[in-house]
Amino acid sequence: MSGIAFVSSVELHPRLCDWVRLNPDRTLSIFNGKVELGQGIGTAIAQIAADELEVPFDRLILVSGDTSRCPNEWWTSASISIEAGGRAMRTACAEVREAFRAAAARRLDAAIDDVEVRLGWFSATGSSAKLSYWDLVAEVDLAQRFSGTASLKPPGAYRVVGRSVPRRDLPAKLAGAAYVHDLDLPGLLHGRVLRPPSYGARLVSIDRAMVQSVAPLAAMVVDGSFVGVCAEREEAAIKAVEAVRNAAHWTEPVDLPEPGEVRSWLLELPRDSDRISAKGTFPEGDGRCLAAAYSKPYIAHASIGPACAVARLKNGHLTVWSHTQGNFVLKSQLARALGMAEVDITVIHHDGAGCYGHNGADDVALDAALLSIAVGHPVQVVWSREDELAWAPFGSAMAIDLKARVMADGRITEWVHEVYSTPHLTRPGWGEGVGLLAAWHLATPFEPPVVANPPLALGGGGDRNAIPLYEFATQSVVHHFVKAAPLRVSALRSLGAYGNVFAIESFVDEISHTVGIDAVELRLMHLADERARAVVRAAAGAATGAAAPPSDGLARGRGMGFARYKNSGAYFAVVVEVSVEKALRVERAWAAVDAGLIVNPDGLSNQIEGGIVQAISWTLFEEVRWDRERVLTRSWDDYPILRFADVPAIEVELIGRPDQPSLGVGECAAGPTAAAIANALFDALGVRVRDLPLTPERIARSIQ
């Protein structure tokens, strides 16, 4: 699909040396394509490698995301880094271990089944002789291909996987230079890009004399409507780009929809409709019919550290240091945008700030490359806060209509889910075209990609988690794909799951109140999956068992949310307790998660806590705003996010399942947390708010 054949990374890179190399200083380098985004994957992958190679953890050096020497693992996304990346690394390391074990058997003149390896030392039963990986390295051809027969270490034998190994990257981050923002190269210039004032704006002219008088030391690069500046000093580059902003004239179309509630404009746009689930027929039956309509707005990534890249063209070879999620794909896209051969480009991973999906990392890589090529120096570009908030893609707006027929005993016999949404995936390399911002503004512009919704087999987009995990005899789920989004959209943590699960779990709660059945019981009535039942019970139990809230006269309430991410990922349930005075506050949260075999328990908890906090922020505050011409939310004042004063107490229970495959947990908390808050609000005030965010204005309106 989209010109990319999704061959697995071990098939693409089937030699031992593609993944593991031995270094003369008795360390081992392991190479992978899943990159550190702040989620701890680097540490987790190293844990998996340490166990499968059976070497001490601190002997391993992980090299990630360097297109000149690492495997292509496509994108670090979709919560599959442990599932897919972990599996690939496990396979590769097992193959390496087995190749060395065979060599040890030959050298020790023992049967291979009698040879074991422990902490990097091979020995045969009955003999005291020990051989290290380095003692054997001359006898193993690391260029050989995988045998396909290497056995994997059984989970019961894990020493490192399953332990809360501290993050390897944090000590340096808490001490000084660590991010791509901190890279320094000889001759590095600081670059800044003047983005157009709106999506469709076109540059008419720049008063160069004006720019020259304010910023004489800056070099200006203009290519169509792409405008950038470079200077030796960073603050000079910033001053220069502001000078250009004041000296530039644009034509701006008035082509954004009239802002308003999501349904007022989303449902007016052309769409393709696809029934993604049809079960049973809809007889005329007994019971009550309920219907409700939900919505969520556009949401921004709003990372604390803006997008950044460093680019250097040297002897015809372009090197880009980037925090992109997809290094190889970025390389291809850069080659197309720049008219270069892929072999002349290297993309090297360097950590950025928190990445929650398709942000500006790919765009800024092209920015830096364009400027670097134009001025003949290495260039570092850092996006401004305004551009970070206004130009990085947003999480799509969605409208969800739900209908159900429910019996007096709580049995839901019919369920209809219709979701309307703009796209959730417009990554560069996804779809024909060049998906890099500057490429659309050049004098000879590239076409933005023609976008398609990812298939459900890959998790879906706007339809992610639209099909409920609950068992209903009769159900229909329809996805209305609104192809042309008025605002720039792409993948934001959990994609359509946030909106769909918010709607489903709010509706389940509404049903429970209508028929007078406890919301937890209602869920359990319709959940056959034992793992799902277990997280629901665990979260409910933790909340029930908790100390009573203080009697401070505030209205309080509790609500639950549950989902299995993508219906194939991690199981997650959360109960949230809110208080309402002047504003809605989340006071406490009790969560339960089942992620199969846990690689790093503390890392997992950290991701869940973070997912809950971010979802609280989205749900209470966040909404991108625009007018007929421009995106308006460009500062932390316009786009407030949750602050320290508002963070609740959070308890996370991990349900370990060592016999089950590991599942990623980066995205599973979002939708359930949103619903839990809305349900808690109803419990507190009897007010049902179905349109996010749950602002004081929306709550007040619902009370009236």
Binding site: L37, G38, Q39, G40, S164, P166, R167, D169, L170, P171, A172, K173, L174, A175, G176, A177, A178, Y179, H181, D182, D184, R233, E234, E235, I238, A302, S303, I304, G305, P306, D351, G352, A353, G354, C355, Y356, V382, S384, R385, D602, N606, Q607, E609, G610, G611, I612, V613, Q614, S617, S635, W636, D637, I641, L642, R643, F644, A645, V647, A649, I650
Partner: protein, 161 residues
């Protein structure tokens, strides 16, 4: 180090060392620290004093270096994350944050640590509310808040490093 020979040097103390920088006095302290003095641990987040990522201590007080011109630091004492500890010899706050794994992407953390250091120096036994108040200008998008608050309490309970 990039400087202009036609600019008068500005003297300030950074992490205990006397430094002279030939940089225009209106330059935000953030860029002097990062680019002229090579101290990359103080980070750019917004440039307008809204997120706290650039926080340093100026004569012990937590300030946003993106919003502090160089001339305001002239003759004064600046402390950055590099000046309080290292991975080999961490400050009690760095140690507590690492023990609690009080970070995800880590980008916001150094500014938070500097504000907390200023807090603990003024108030060695802060309440949870005191810490939340001290961090009211700090943003964390990854959601490490709960661990951050816990780490500060752990550090407060340690003897000063």
């Amino acid at each position: 180090m990039r400087s202009g020979s036609d600019v008068d040097p500005v003297a300030l103390t950074v992490n205990g060392a006397s430094r002279q920088v030939r940089v225009a006095p209106g330059t935000p302290l953030l860029y002097v620290l990062r680019n002229d003095l090579g101290l990359k641990g103080t980070r750019f987040g917004c440039g307008t004093g809204h997120c706290g990522a650039c926080t340093v201590q100026l004569d012990g007080k937590a300030v946003q270096s993106c919003d502090t011109p160089l001339w305001a630091a002239a003759g004064r004492v600046v402390t950055t994350i590099e000046g309080i500890g290292s991975p080999e010899q961490p400050h009690s706050l760095q140690r507590a944050f690492l023990e609690q794994q009080a970070a995800q992407c880590g980008y916001c953390i150094n500014g938070i640590i500097m504000s907390c250091k200023a807090l603990l120096e003024a108030n060695p036994a802060p309440t949870d509310r005191d810490v939340r108040r001290a961090l009211e200008r700090h943003l964390c998008r990854c959601g490490a808040h709960v661990r951050i608050l816990r780490a500060v309490q752990r550090a407060a309970a340690q003897p000063a490093s």
